[in-house]
C-alpha cells in the first residue's frame, strides 16, 4: 500500500511547519499532519489502521513490535504526536508500552483491542491511556484522535503556567501569550497560528519599549557577555544604550534592543545588590526562565554565570548568595522544578530575551512546547542531551513524567554547559560537578542544584514546598532538608561531590540502594538530626509514589542505628517516583550530605524542616 502522494506532500509540508513552529502544526491545517505512531502485532489491523490514518491526512509510522516502536520514539523524541497501540502483543504488553511512552516521551497514547471487557478498559484508564478503542476500529474514531494531543498540550501548558504563577503576568504579558500559542494546539489553533504568523512574519519585538516590529533578538550567552563587557567598560553609571551598542558592535542590534536589555540588566543588578546574601536570586533573577519550576535552576545557565564572571562583583555576590558554603552551584538551583521563591524575583526581572538565548533554535520536545519560552531556555542547552538523558531516565525507572524528564535533562544539559565555563568554575564545587556531570549529568545536576540553591535561605523550605507543589510534591521536602543541612554545613561541595559520584554509580546500577548505602556508609553516623533528616527523606520518599520497586529508601532503618549508620543495602531502599529522578538523587544527596553533616556537627536541628515529624518514630515513615 502506498501512501498517496498528495497526502504525502500535504503531510510533509505540515510536518515542516510543525517543526519550524516548535512542533506545532500550522493551525489552519491542524490536525492535518498529525504524526501518529501505530503499534500492532496484527499485520492486517496494522495495514488497515495505517490506511485509515492516512486517509485522515495524518502522518503514520507503523510498527509491529513494541520494542521497535519504543526505540523509534526514543530516537526521535519530537517526531510524533500520538501513539496508538494494541493491548495484546507478543513481545511487550501494550500497557507497558503505554507506561514507557507516557513517562519518557509524555505522548498521548491510545489503546485498542478487540477485547472490550471492562477490566481491560479500566486497566487502560489506570495506566494513563488517553483513550481506548475497540476493534474493529472505525475511521470515524480515528478522525478525532487529535483532540487528545490538544488536550494534553493544553493541560501541560496550564501546569507550566501555574507554576510560573503570576510572576510572568506583570512583567511580560506578551510572554504568556507567546507561551500560549507557542504551545501550539492550545486554545484554538487558528488564533495561535495567526499570532505566530504575525510573529514570524513581522518579527515581533518583545521589547516593551519598542513599537517597531523588529526581528526578535536572542540574547545569547555570547551576546550578553559582550553586552556586559561593554557595560563594565563604560561603567554601570555611564552605560547608555547608544554607547553600549557602539562598543558591542553587533550588526543588526538596535539601540532599542540594547536599551531594553540594559533596563533588565539594571533591575537584575539592583536585585543582586539589594537582596540579602542568602537569597540566591542572582542568577535566577537574571536568567528569568519562564517556568519557575526550572527557572531558578535554569537561570544558572552559562549566561548567568558568565554575567557574574563578567561583572566581577556578581560572582562574589552570587556565590555568596547561592551558596553560603561556597558551592557556587547556585546555577544548579536551576534544576528543574524547584520553584524557589527566588523565582518570583527573578520573574520580575524577567529577561525577555534570555529565554530565547538558549537557543530558540532548538526545537523543544513537543510536549514541552506549552512551556513555551520557558522551555526554550532549557532547550537552548544542547538538545542532544535529551535522548541520552531520556534513555538514562528510562533505564532508571521511567515513571518520570516526561515533562519533568525533559526538564531534568535540559537542566542537566544546562549544568553541563555551566560546568564547562571556566570563570565560574573556579570553585572546587564546580569542579566536582564537572566530573559528576560527565558521568550522569542529569542526575548529578539535579541533585546538586537543589542543594546549592536552597541553601540560601532558611525560609526556603516552606517556599519551596509551596511552590514546588505544582511540579513535584515529593521533591520539596528533600530540598528542605538539604537546605537545612547545607546551612549548617560548609563542606557541601565535597559531600555533594561524593554524592554525585555515588549517584552516578547508582544510575548505572539502576537506582540501586547500594549507592545510597555506599554514600551513607561513607558519611555514616547519623546523629539525631540525620535521622530526622532521614525520616524527612523517607517521608519524602513515601510521599512520592514509587514506580520502581528497586528504590525504596527506608531511611528509618538508618535511624535505628544512630551511631552506627551503616545501612546495608537492604535497609536502604530508595522509594522514589521515577519521575523524580533528579530528586531521587537529590534525596540521596541529601541523605549523604545529611549524614556527613551530622557527623561533623553532631546534630542539625531538623526543626526547620517542613516535616513535623519527630525524628524518632521510624514507624511513622511509610516506606
Amino acid at each position: 500500500m502506498n501512501p498517496s502522494n498528495g497526502k504525502g506532500s500535504v503531510s510533509t509540508s505540515s510536518r515542516v511547519s510543525w517543526k519550524s513552529n516548535e512542533a506545532a502544526p500550522v493551525a489552519d491545517q491542524f490536525p492535518v499532519g498529525l504524526r501518529v505512531m501505530v503499534v500492532d502485532d496484527d499485520p492486517t489491523c496494522l495495514m488497515i489502521l495505517e490506511k485509515m490514518l492516512r486517509t485522515c491526512k495524518y502522518e503514520v509510522k507503523r510498527c509491529s513490535r513494541a520494542e521497535e516502536a519504543l526505540s523509534i520514539l526514543r530516537g526521535n523524541s519530537n517526531g510524533y504526536d500520538i501513539v496508538i497501540s494494541d493491548v495484546h502483543m507478543p513481545d511487550m504488553d501494550g500497557f507497558k508500552l503505554l507506561e514507557h511512552v507516557g513517562l519518557e516521551m509524555d505522548l498521548p497514547v491510545i489503546m485498542m483491542s478487540a477485547d472490550d471487557s471492562k477490566s481491560v478498559v479500566m486497566k487502560g484508564v489506570t495506566h494513563g491511556a488517553c483513550d481506548y478503542l475497540i476493534k474493529p476500529v472505525r475511521i470515524e474514531a480515528l478522525k478525532n484522535i487529535w483532540q487528545h494531543v490538544v488536550r494534553k498540550r493544553k493541560n501541560e501548558w496550564k501546569e507550566v503556567d501555574q507554576q510560573s504563577g503570576s510572576a510572568d503576568d506583570g512583567q511580560q504579558p506578551k510572554y504568556s501569550e507567546d507561551g500560549d500559542y507557542s504551545s501550539s494546539v492550545n486554545e484554538g489553533n487558528w488564533r495561535n497560528s495567526k499570532r505566530r504568523k504575525d510573529d514570524d512574519e513581522d518579527g515581533e519585538d518583545r521589547d516593551d519599549t519598542s513599537t517597531l516590529k523588529k526581528p526578535r533578538v536572542v540574547w545569547s550567552v555570547e551576546l550578553h557577555q559582550q553586552f556586559v563587557g561593554a557595560v563594565n567598560q563604560l561603567g554601570i553609571d555611564k552605560a547608555v544604550p547608544k554607547k553600549i551598542l557602539e562598543l558591542m558592535n553587533v550588526p543588526g542590534l538596535t539601540r532599542e534592543n540594547v536599551a531594553s536589555h540594559l533596563q533588565k540588566y539594571r533591575l537584575y543588578l539592583r536585585r543582586l545588590s539589594g537582596v540579602s546574601p542568602h537569597q540566591n536570586n542572582l542568577g535566577n533573577s537574571f536568567m528569568n526562565p519562564q517556568d519557575p519550576g526550572y527557572g531558578p535552576l535554569s537561570t544558572l545557565n552559562g549566561i548567568d554565570l558568565q554575567t557574574l564572571a563578567a561583572t566581577g562583583q556578581l560572582p562574589a555576590q552570587s556565590l555568596a548568595t547561592l551558596q553560603a558554603a561556597g558551592l557556587g552551584r547556585a546555577v544548579v538551583a536551576a534544576k528543574s522544578r524547584i520553584p524557589i521563591p527566588v523565582v518570583d524575583q527573578r520573574n520580575l526581572f524577567s529577561f525577555e530575551n534570555p529565554k530565547l538565548s538558549f537557543g530558540d533554535t532548538q526545537q523543544p520536545p513537543q510536549h514541552l512546547n506549552n512551556g513555551g519560552t520557558q522551555i526554550n531556555m532549557l532547550h537552548g542547552i544542547p538538545t542532544n542531551m535529551q535522548p541520552k538523558q531520556l534513555v538514562n531516565l528510562q533505564h532508571q525507572g521511567n515513571s518520570l513524567p516526561t515533562v519533568q524528564n525533559v526538564q531534568s535533562v535540559q537542566s542537566g544539559s544546562l549544568l553541563m554547559q555551566m560546568t564547562d565555563q571556566p570563570p565560574l568554575r573556579g570553585q572546587q564545587p564546580m569542579g566536582n560537578y564537572n566530573s559528576i556531570s560527565q558521568s550522569s549529568p542529569m542526575m548529578n545536576l539535579s541533585s546538586s542544584y537543589p542543594l546549592s540553591n536552597i541553601q540560601a535561605k532558611s525560609g526556603f523550605p516552606e517556599d519551596l514546598t509551596s511552590e514546588m507543589k505544582g511540579s513535584t510534591p515529593g521533591f520539596m521536602p528533600s530540598y528542605d532538608i538539604f537546605n537545612e543541612l547545607n546551612h549548617q554545613q560548609k563542606s557541601h561541595d565535597w559531600e555533594l561531590q561524593n554524592v554525585g559520584l555515588t549517584f552516578n554509580a547508582t544510575q548505572q546500577a539502576n537506582n540501586s540502594i547500594d549507592v545510597l548505602g555506599t554514600s551513607i556508609a561513607a558519611s555514616h553516623h547519623s546523629g539525631f538530626s540525620s535521622s530526622s533528616q532521614g525520616s524527612g527523606l523517607t517521608r519524602n520518599a513515601s510521599t512520592v509514589h514509587a514506580n520502581n520497586n528497586n528504590n525504596a529508601i527506608s531511611v528509618g532503618q538508618h535511624r535505628m542505628n544512630v551511631n552506627n549508620f551503616y545501612p546495608d543495602n537492604n535497609s536502604v531502599r530508595v522509594k522514589l517516583e521515577p519521575p523524580l529522578f533528579p530528586e531521587q538523587f537529590g534525596q540521596d544527596d541529601l541523605m549523604s550530605a545529611l549524614l556527613r553533616q551530622q557527623q561533623g556537627q553532631g546534630g542539625i536541628g531538623p526543626a526547620e524542616n517542613d516535616f513535623d515529624f519527630d525524628g524518632y518514630s521510624i514507624d511513622n515513615i511509610p516506606v
Binding site: M1, T44, I48, D86, P136, V137
Partner: protein, 113 residues
C-alpha cells in the same frame, strides 16, 4: 461488457456474503471506502494479508490443539488475535466462531462441541 459482468458478479457475491452473515456489511464497506485511486488494490491487499496471517494462525491453533494437555491460554491468545483480524476485515462469521472458541477455551472444553 466483460468488465461490467465481472463487476456484477462480484457485487452479487458480496451481497450474498453479507446476507449469509459471512461478511460484515459495515466493516467491509469501510475497507472499500479506504480504497482510492492512490491505493486501487487496497482491499485486495488487506484481504490477502489477512488470509496469509490467518492461515498461519490456524496452523498454530491446530498444533496447539494436537498437544495434550491442551494449553488453553495459548489457544485463547491465538483466538484473540484471530478474532481481531477477522473483525477488522469484516469477517463476521469467523469472528463469531472465534468468540465461541474462546468461550470453550475458558471453560476448558477441549472438545468444543
Amino acid at each position: 461488457m466483460d468488465r461490467n459482468q465481472s463487476h456484477r458478479q462480484v457485487a452479487t457475491m458480496k451481497q450474498s456474503l453479507f446476507d449469509q452473515g459471512y461478511l460484515d456489511h459495515e466493516q467491509f464497506n469501510q475497507l472499500e471506502e479506504l480504497q482510492d485511486d492512490a491505493n486501487p488494490n487496497f482491499v485486495e491487499e488487506v484481504v490477502t494479508l489477512y488470509y496469509r496471517d490467518s492461515a498461519r494462525l490456524v496452523h498454530s491453533i491446530e498444533q496447539a490443539l494436537e498437544k495434550s494437555p491442551i494449553d488453553f491460554n495459548k489457544l485463547d491468545s491465538y483466538m484473540h488475535q484471530f478474532r481481531g483480524s477477522s473483525s477488522s476485515i469484516g469477517a463476521k462469521k469467523v469472528k463469531a466462531e472465534c468468540s465461541l472458541f474462546r468461550e470453550y477455551c475458558r471453560a476448558g472444553n477441549g472438545e468444543g462441541r
